[in-house]
């Protein structure tokens, strides 16, 4: 499964494609929702590693509007916000489809929940 937490860590790596190569846009996706155990400490700890804008836009592209445009300050993170973040990051699983680079158009397929980031030799 490509969860949004993983998606937030993947960028296009075609040779020379170094700007506007993140986030990759989901295309023709098949989604499954799977409950995951809620862990506030994990979410708070992982938040600094996230590209927030990319996460919010990607969630919206999958019809989830639950995240605010800017993340709240750590002391203002209430349960409602953390539950929404938990759901978006960890419970939305993209099983089939593709991820497309906005810059170079490269298509990274997703099959059986596994993204294929391999490139052809001439793209390396």
């Amino acid at each position: 499964m490509v969860r949004l937490i993983t998606h937030n860590l993947l960028a296009c790596h075609v040779r020379g494609c170094t700007t506007n190569n993140f986030p990759l846009a989901f295309k023709d996706v098949e989604i499954q929702l799977r409950e995951a155990e809620f862990n506030q400490d994990f979410l708070r700890g992982f938040l600094p590693k996230l590209e927030w804008r990319a996460l919010v836009d990607t969630a919206k592209s999958l019809n989830d509007q639950s995240l605010p445009d800017t993340p709240p300050a750590p002391e203002q993170m209430d349960t409602e916000f953390l539950k929404a973040l938990h759901h978006v990051l960890l419970e939305i699983h993209v099983e089939e489809g593709a991820m497309v680079c906005a810059n170079c158009g490269h298509v990274y397929p997703i099959s059986n929940g596994i993204p294929n980031m391999l490139l052809q030799e001439h793209e390396l």
């Binding site: 993947l10 960028a11 590209e51 960890l90």
Partner: protein, 155 residues
């Protein structure tokens, strides 16, 4: 297991990534397999962000052509063919360690005696500024000793 960690598991072989997924499910650990070479596709966003990096490389000394063949068309050979000294693929990752490991990050690397672990340790110190030690050494089968090295940042 409580979700405290993101486990990005990479392999160039589709069979390996799908088996990783099944193994995780079987053991009730959510793994995130990615079909890619080493950390390709992750390097940019994981710049100095990986806390623990485990690498079981293709470490068996072989002809160089065997490495290229294995990497072009992923198969069982690509899981072991390491080229001259068995270090062809490992060296590529070692060159990336400094940009992958977080400030407190460490890497566990599986090697065999023919890789000359002591020389690897000297090299990662001189070239990459990383301290390492042999943390476990054992016989595996009749032929190989497996000393995992643990390179980490010099404080």
């Amino acid at each position: 297991m409580r979700p405290r960690t993101v486990y990005c598991c990479t392999d160039i072989n589709q069979l390996a990534t799908s088996t990783t997924k099944k193994t995780g499910n079987q053991n009730k650990v959510l793994l995130d397999p990615i079909q890619t070479s080493l950390a390709s596709g992750l390097n940019q966003r994981c710049y100095r962000a990986i806390d623990v990096l485990l690498f079981n490389p293709p470490y068996v000394p072989t002809e160089e052509e065997e490495v290229e063949h294995g990497q072009d068309t992923p198969n069982i050979q690509s899981s072991w063919a390491g080229g001259s000294m068995g270090m062809h693929i490992t060296d590529i990752l070692l060159d990336q360690l400094d940009s992958l490991l977080s400030p407190k990050g460490c890497c566990y690397l599986v090697t065999v005696a023919q890789n000359r672990p002591k020389e690897i340790m000297e090299r990662v110190r001189a070239k990459h500024g990383l301290e390492s030690s042999v943390i476990l050494s054992r016989r595996a089968g009749r032929a190989f000793a497996h000393p995992p090295l643990q390179p980490s940042r010099i404080e």
